[in-house]
Subunit: 372 residues, 4 copies
């Protein structure tokens, strides 16, 4: 079990600190009991200015997208150039840079310290797990293989795509209790998932749906199979992950919702899946983590509602501080196979699906002995 607080705290650096996900990291680290915000990096353009200055536009308006006010202590920190970032004086990194930047930057930092990332650059490498708290704790062992192979003192630990998160979290208890044979998912994704520069234009989404998000469906299908897969191998050859051998098919769409991805999931199970047993399995999922007292862990990883009109993104996305996946409309599914369930889930894409999820993973790795 973790102590209630650490003294001294581990010193964190946020890279990509001015974007939407980076701001979420900054907000979530404020007052964190184990991690302190020590350094901030962003693009060349922001380097050399204070964080406050780098958030201001040319008219003095503060561009802050993480809710409430920016933490006062962060505003005075200098912003350094991500390109030239070093690991001096820091213990871990939270990275929210674009994938092309991540490709070069993250290995350089991981040579010295652990890097928790929202970028997709390394998710599909054989020696890189995609960690999702409560779902695939055993995959963390692959980080040792990564360290050995790459000669890292740290490691790269990317989180899943925001659309993968709710799907993998809810499929895991169904897989464990009832087996899975087919999965079909249609997502109705919020505009914040596309970031802000340029993000989704109002001209494109008011009174409209965009039925395509480049690369998203492939990511979700591939990542979900990897997250739900088995970590196999031994200490000699190193470990690897055997993806779950279940067909997953997705259609990903964008709708006029600010935050929170809604997903309509249909799955065939290999064993009978009575609705009340599925509900119980979802509700108890992750309860064993409670004993770890991870500071960011919500009371429930998964909440289940009986109200047929829920979950609704605007009403339910903040449950558990945005870290609880909300499941509703749980019904038998018989078109895909003999047994199965269908349901609608809601997951907060910029919270559990991005920065806060990565911080929760860091907390888990800290208690599991991977951070030093």
């Amino acid at each position: 079990m973790l102590p209630a607080a650490m003294n001294p705290k581990l010193r964190a650096m946020v890279v990509g600190a001015t974007g939407v996900a980076g701001q979420q990291f900054v907000a979530a680290l404020s007052g964190h009991p184990f991690f302190s915000l020590a350094r901030l990096c962003a693009s060349e353009r922001s380097a050399g200015r204070s964080y406050r200055e780098s958030l201001r536009d040319e008219r003095g308006s503060l561009r802050w997208y993480a809710g409430g006010q920016p933490p006062a202590e962060a505003l005075e920190l200098p912003v350094e150039s991500a390109k030239e970032a070093t690991t001096d004086g820091i213990d871990l990194v939270f990275s929210a840079v674009e994938s092309d930047v991540a490709k070069e930057l993250e290995p350089r930092l991981a040579a010295q310290v652990p890097v928790f990332s929202t970028a997709s650059a390394f998710r599909y490498e054989p020696d890189v797990p995609i960690l999702l708290p409560g779902v695939n704790r055993s995959h963390a062992a692959l980080l040792r293989t990564q360290q050995r192979r790459r000669g890292f003192r740290g490691f790269i630990a990317p989180g899943p795509n925001c659309t993968t998160v709710g799907l993998a979290i809810t499929l895991q208890p169904i897989l464990r209790h009832f087996g899975l044979s087919r999965v079909v998912m249609t997502s109705l994704q919020s505009v914040s998932g596309a970031g802000r520069s340029p993000g989704v234009s109002a001209l494109d989404i008011i009174d409209n749906i965009i039925p395509f998000i480049p690369g998203e469906e492939e990511k979700v299908e591939r990542e979900t199979r990897k997250i739900l897969g088995a970590c196999l191998g031994d200490g000699t050859d190193g470990l690897h992950i055997e993806p779950l051998a279940v067909a997953i098919s997705c259609t990903c769409t964008r709708v006029a919702v600010l935050d929170g991805h809604t997903e309509a999931v249909f799955c065939a199970t290999t064993r009978p899946a009575p609705i009340d047993e599925v509900k119980a399995a979802l509700l108890e999922f992750g309860q064993e983590l409670g004993a770890l007292k991870l500071p960011s862990l919500p009371q429930q990883l998964i909440a289940v509602t009986d109200d047929p009109y829920r979950p609704q993104p605007r009403l339910d996305r903040e449950l558990g501080g945005g870290l609880t996946t909300v499941v509703g409309r749980l019904r038998p599914e018989r078109a895909l196979g003999e047994h199965g369930v269908k349901y609608v889930l809601l997951s907060h894409n910029t919270k559990m699906g991005a920065a806060q999820g990565a911080i929760l993973t860091a907390e888990q790795l800290l208690i599991d002995g991977y951070l030093g």
Copy 2:
């Protein structure tokens, strides 16, 4: 083949004329080459006033939801009470009343004249076909059974639920060419599908999704199987429809779109379904109807786009005057079975999915000899 125009035209009565679907009937009948608008009925409250007066609210604002201006000739017609409606001087009825009203009213009118309805009241009766132009022309023969059994001189011909329309239209060519074994569909439905009194409250749908529409999923699953089923039997016992024996599973949601239902469809086929062949089958579907010169028939029943970002409701819903179903994102589907396709479709719910679709059906039945 029909003549370019009829002289004299068949005289139509619209019941439920003041609601959203009723207004669509009034608009679509204006200038119609075969049907003239002869009488209007609505609720007790409107009876005795002119159509113009019945559309005005207490401040003189004209409540017109069918686009453009109300047809001048309709505005001066008197509105009669639907409750006491007779078939004097009319040849056919277009009904846009609620199902509970339809239950009593439509049989009374059908005793004398054909009734084309957007209500669900009779859709599931064994002697009532759910006619969808281009899709199940042979089902019209069931109307003869209906007339014999019920002693009707007319008949009741309800159209499908608006969400069924695009699904059944696009599945029919796939079924014919490739066979169907499983279908999964998630809908993202527009607010106009819920009508206007009260319809969907802005408070419920801005920055939100409502993941449930009462009764909708059952309707779509049941109606699609019936529409795609076989009309069997003989003249002695009468005909009946054997529903298609394919599992269909739906999740229906409401999103912040004004008009046009978007549906993400996944289907397993019984034979290989190469994408280019599926595309060709969709494109040629209904082309044989062209020779009939039905006035409302769009140039294409189904359009297929290669633009990955389409169909979009705001950009594509008016194609073919709102009677063309637009298909995009056509891709192989392998999670549901050995062969299959997945796609996104868009169908205009208050046009092809309601009044205009019913008028198109009436045109088809006219040429097929059922109207006189």
Copy 3:
């Protein structure tokens, strides 16, 4: 000064408890240090059921619009018929009924106990003040005249229309420091101001503006002049309010915003009004109330932002728990007269503009000795 808490608390009855404003009363009274929720009334239809049951729709979905979850203690309370409501066992009433109901109900209750109301029924009576905390404390004296004239042991104290609130609050410090000669205001009002049954239809407001709200402009002009007027007279003849003799002209519109009314205000002042002095006057307005320690009083009645892009309803409406009026874009105004200022304000229409504002008024009247 008030005590930190009262023992025993005053027992409150909420009438109209199931509507949007009524729910806000119920939410705001939960845990209130001076008032306890003792009884609930609503329409005939809800009477005899528990509050929980009266909030459920036919599918078991809980219709709660006041944010978060309904207070547990309220859910088990029985709902009584407002029509037959008595004042047994209660000390004050918070009324959120429609004006036509208020007309009959509120005097009957006020005969015994104080009634704080969001209805407009009595706002324009000569012996009824429209109280707005921090703005017209002296007008409370008119309640004594009301009691004497009407033979009430209690009184009726209606709050202003939600659109009046931000305007009157911000004009008062300008009037005091710089004098006022002309005021022009255009409002951009949120949909929650129209309630929920039916409220604003999504069909009417998506991609749209409705440039008219029946009766709103007259209310705002009249109420603002009354609130900013002088309470004159003596104990013999009774007091009355002399409305402010300043022309006020409004255009009120509805836009696709969930909560929070935005108002663009232009005013001519009788004396020079340098921007920095106006800003200071706005910021210090109501600071003297701080000493009273009213539990609902926000830290600032008025906040002023220098960010030219603010206030924005989604980002700023919850400031001060929804009780702070946020002013931005403060600029000199010279088109209306020699001196003046123009600005944009944001006021939360269902919080400061309705239930919470009424509770704050009750707190103020309690300390000023009007509640017993």
Copy 4:
């Protein structure tokens, strides 16, 4: 009077052809009776490709924002670099480039041919009129002064800011008939006014209002006074425009509307302005232009509605092909002065407020003898 068509047509070049306004020019020139689309210019990035190719994004999706389909004849035209644009083989230019590009490019083109522009770069120059059809026809004479001073064979004729258009059009008949002394205007502007790259982010405008548009208010105030001003001087010294000496004060906001700017206008008149006379003056405004048979001229420059709930952007913006300004809520205004009116207007910002307005101006100048 113009002929019904010209033969041969004047050959037009569109610069900035790939942006939203440029696309509107391309769409509006298709099938135009006097102007043919001869050449297209855009940024370096598009140069050397066909128009079709320059509209495609990397996935083959056609980025077309002007409604319907791009004109077939335009799609095959080559796109040239605006930087190096010449006037070879063309008779006039329609320019939709950004102001900084316009500053260098437009004078270079105007040296040879007339340039009609939506850019603001030259609007405030003393020898440049801001022409608005029907409003200030006499200002065109200033173009001769411009030609003489600058040695141009052509000229630069910029249109007004899109927000100025509806205001200036509706104020002109009020000014003429009743005199003007003060004007206050609050705009509720659509997102298309901000273009598309990046334009307004969905994250900023859903469930929100942005109460500031940089530079907009100054532009509207200044341009309206110039457009309504007098063109004075003589042939010796050249002409100049004396701005209207009336104070105009604006607040400009952005709302979640796709197209169409709504403006709440309050004005004081110097003479009594009975509502029915104001209505008549608005309705007959521009009727004298009818005789000119300008191809783009709508049937009414100004429409007036008595429906208190109108104009609404979604319902009314396409009136007259988007070239009619719709006025509603016409009421007496007495807060600004002794006499006056207030009203709400709607003007289509990308049609009358941009490309189509510029084409209408070109038609007017053609008949007035300025085009060669």
